[in-house]
Amino acid sequence: MTAKATPSPPASGKSPAPRKGIFHSIYYAFNSIRLTVFLFIILGIVSIIGTIIEQGASPEKYAQEYTEGTIRLFNALGLFDMYHTFWFFTLLLLLLLNLTVCTLERLPKVWRFAKRIKPILEEGDEKKYPIRDDFELPGGAEKVEAAFRKLARLPYWMILLDIAAVVLAIFFTREYNFNFLEFVSFIILPLGYVALLNFRGKLIRTEKDGVVHLFVNQWLISRFGVYITHVSILIIFLGAIAGNLFGFKGYMAVGEGETTNRMYVRQARMIDTLMDALQSVSAKTTEDSHTSRSGEFTTLPFSIRCDDFNVSYYDTGLPKDYTSDLVVIENGKETMRKTIEVNDPLVVGKTYFYQSSYGRSGRPGVVVFKVQAPGGEFRTYRAPVRGTFHVDGTDTDIQIMSFVPDFTITNGQVRQRSEEMINPAIYIMGKKGDHLLFNGWFLPKYPEYSIDTAGYKFEFVDYWGSQYTGLQVAYDPGVEVVWIGCSLLVIGLMISFFHSHQRIWARINGDHVVIAGSAHKNRMAFEKKIEDLVKLLRT
């Protein structure tokens, strides 16, 4: 630490001499800012390598890109799944240790310094401080006290700003589903900031031997901002570790109309993996262990039913929304129902179900129609392809001959352009007894190109039952901890960068006023502040 960049608190009282011993030498090795710089650089370089070599790609892809020898080398170094290797983990651990030791070493010093701050400016003490002034002021005590009181007050614009932040927070949380996350980021964060603002410091007035001492101690918290930041990083890592140990990630495919509790485990709970490893070491295989392994199927304590899956499209053909109507079934009873979409998951307890993919299940679907007979009302009918349904209140039967999800005509031939429901087309045949009413393609998106349906009106609803919805399942007990850490991180950075610890003393002996001040950062602005104060007092 150099005095130039940040004046470290004056170190008085000897710090205990480092004792010899292996533990202590290791401990002090971690108390090094140069180690931090080194680790930042190494982590940076290593991370870059991880973005250049594609992570977790298929062996075929690697075989295309690299020679066999390179692949063997990279595999040995774990470069294909670098961020989960032992050595990467070790680097992170070193950084954490470094951060912890540095904090443990420095925080008590700052703490002691804060405790030693005196509210009294003794005769001659002012010489210790970079900014000082003295002048004669008749009736000084009251005037100086009034000015100091103003200094110590919370500025109104700050209060207004915080009210605005909270109002905005409420607006956003109402607009976009209130939940814990928003709560932390938008309510706790601004409110916490307001609370910290109150550390701005009170005016302390002491009278000693007829001399009045005034002292404003502002933003002492700013000296602790860096430790709040460091602790918040530790909290984030704790949350991440908890998430990895006790959380899991999985995948479920649920067909339309199907109910299932089977989940493919993508990433098992690390604690299970560890237990597995322990058990295999002790060679005890217990049959009833409930551990699940990555790459295997497991069952959830509840079932998910998918009532419907839909994709909607913009006019340009880009997808607009993927939605799944999900129902949670516990002990045979429906307990929850939600239409999920990307960015809006289903939450059961602490397990989240995210819309992640979809596809054809291979089962035949059912065409869902709304049909209106001449003079009648719209009614919903369902029929499979090649199936027939009877229109209620008439003697008409309609048969569905064919269904194409994405209809196109090339060279006079009807073709299916894609599997997506972009331009669905249904070949329908209407019969009144033996008399053919209509026969041809019905295009819901292009009614003008559809066949004439003899007064019957059709509305296409869905081609139901042929798709499945792919759900990403995640259980992460650490995620809230991570958010709290993030919130603290931002607060810590703000108070350490945007504020400086400022101390202003005044000693008033009759008409003689001595003012001294010190700021641990941004001294130019502070100097100006004191100059303005003195100018104001003198006029």
């Binding site: 140069r34 930042f40 982590l43 940076g44 973005t51 956003f172 607009e175 880009l318 995620v479």
Partner: protein
């Protein structure tokens, strides 16, 4: 559609204002008349206001459903807006008008690249982008990156004021130029022809074309410009060598040749780029997005050379006009201090969004990783500065490394590495 045209007009106005402001700042660099300086700031402000109105109109046009930062075009506009705004704030607080000549060209370049973008329509949001967090994420990232770039400008000025030899900058520019040519595949170097990826437009989007039945990209030769690029490459190589020779021998005459080599390569490159743009308009099968990485590098190297030449020819007056080097150092530090918490917010809001969309807040996706690398570089800067007490040249060099990383995170990752972030496609 009328609203759209109106918005476009405001963006054009903003672009022209940036151009005029850049010219004024460069003139100001030379003669330092107060009027020109005020005109420069005034026009910049005008440009910022025009772009602000344009962005608001675009937002209204999108039906207020999402703020206008979803595709590359919008992001670049927003970015150009952010750089000028951050710079104006600094200029308002500190006597540092000279820096405008170095920072405004970057904003202008962003506007320029934006105006070349073929997809200017408002695109509807694909499902993954339909999140409130996206808005915070993008807003924070643009301002943070803009601030980092302004800090970079101050660092360069610091190095100049600290009398780092101009030729060091010249060498860097030559290396950038040489590198930009190296990455254009070998066809330029071996055959003297420049080929581009063939694209096909379908449903408003561009798709690359492959040779039938293979995964080998189909390429189209752009006639006439390969030679120009080859010559530029040669001269950059020469410039690089001359600079190295000069820096090791310190012979004055060599310095003159080194400068001339950069002037000539700038001239040839300007012609090459002009032809390149004209040819691309002519040939429907290719677009600027065919080879976005190379295209971007061409423009960056061209711009860097231009700025270096301006620097060179205004060196003496510039050196006199530059404020105290301590102030420059401090400004760079202060800007980074503002940008760093914002960068932290960028990563956090991105993580929250990812957690909503994919069920995991961190997946070591290249974009995520690169934003973390950016964060690490600036964390290093702050620790070096605050705790170790480094300042001046050493921190200025970290700030320059930071700039390179920011540019790569912002544009390079999407272009070079595959990932989940989608905006570079549009």
């Amino acid at each position: 559609m009328q609203l759209h045209t109106l918005g476009q007009n405001f963006f054009n106005t903003g672009g022209i204002a940036y151009l005029i402001a850049t010219i004024c700042y460069v003139i100001y660099l030379g003669n330092r008349t107060k009027t020109i300086g005020n005109v420069a700031s005034g026009v910049t402000l005008l440009g910022v206001v025009a772009i602000t109105i344009g962005l608001i109109l675009r937002w209204v046009e999108a039906g207020l459903s999402h703020p206008p930062f979803t595709n590359l075009y919008e992001i670049l506009l927003f970015f150009a807006w952010g750089i000028a705004l951050v710079y104006l704030v600094v200029e308002f607080k500190y006597p540092i008008k000279i820096a405008g000549a170095f920072i405004m060209p970057i904003a202008l370049a962003a506007m320029g690249i934006a105006s070349l973008s073929p997809n200017k329509e408002i695109e509807p949001l694909v499902p993954a982008l339909q999140s409130a967090w996206l808005h915070f994420h993008v807003a924070c990232s643009t301002v943070a990156y803009a601030a980092f770039i302004v800090a970079f400008g101050f660092s360069i000025l610091y190095l100049m004021k600290d009398k780092v030899r101009l030729e060091v900058f010249g060498l860097s520019v030559a290396i950038i130029g040489w590198f930009s040519m190296i990455i254009t595949k070998t066809s330029i170097l071996t055959e003297g022809v420049f080929r581009m990826q063939q694209m096909v437009r379908e449903g408003g989007k561009l798709y690359p074309v492959y040779q039938p039945g293979t995964k080998i990209p189909a390429q189209i030769e752009i006639p006439g410009i390969g030679k120009f690029f080859l010559i530029t490459f040669g001269i950059y190589l020469l410039a690089m060598l001359l600079h190295i020779v000069f820096l090791s021998m310190k012979e004055r005459s060599i310095s003159r040749y080194a400068l001339w080599s950069l002037i000539v390569s700038f001239g040839v490159q300007s012609i090459a780029l002009l032809l390149f743009l004209l040819k691309i308009k002519e040939i429907p099968e290719v677009s600027l997005q065919s080879n976005p990485y190379e295209t971007t590098m061409f423009f960056i190297s061209w711009g860097a050379t231009l700025i270096y030449l301006i620097m060179h020819f205004t060196y003496r007056p510039l050196l006199e006009a530059l404020p105290d080097k301590k102030l420059l150092d401090k400004l760079s530090y202060k800007t980074i201090m503002v940008a760093f918490p914002l960068m932290t917010l960028v990563i956090i809001t991105g993580a929250i969004w990812a957690n909503y969309a994919w069920g995991t807040y961190w997946s070591w996706d290249p974009k995520e990783t690169w934003s973390l690398i950016t964060w690490l570089v600036y964390a290093l800067y702050l620790h070096a500065r605050i705790t170790i007490g480094w300042h001046g040249r050493r921190t200025a060099y970290i700030s320059i490394v930071g700039f390179a990383v920011v540019v790569f995170t912002f544009l390079g990752v999407n272009i070079v590495l595959s990932g989940l972030h989608s905006y570079a496609g549009g």
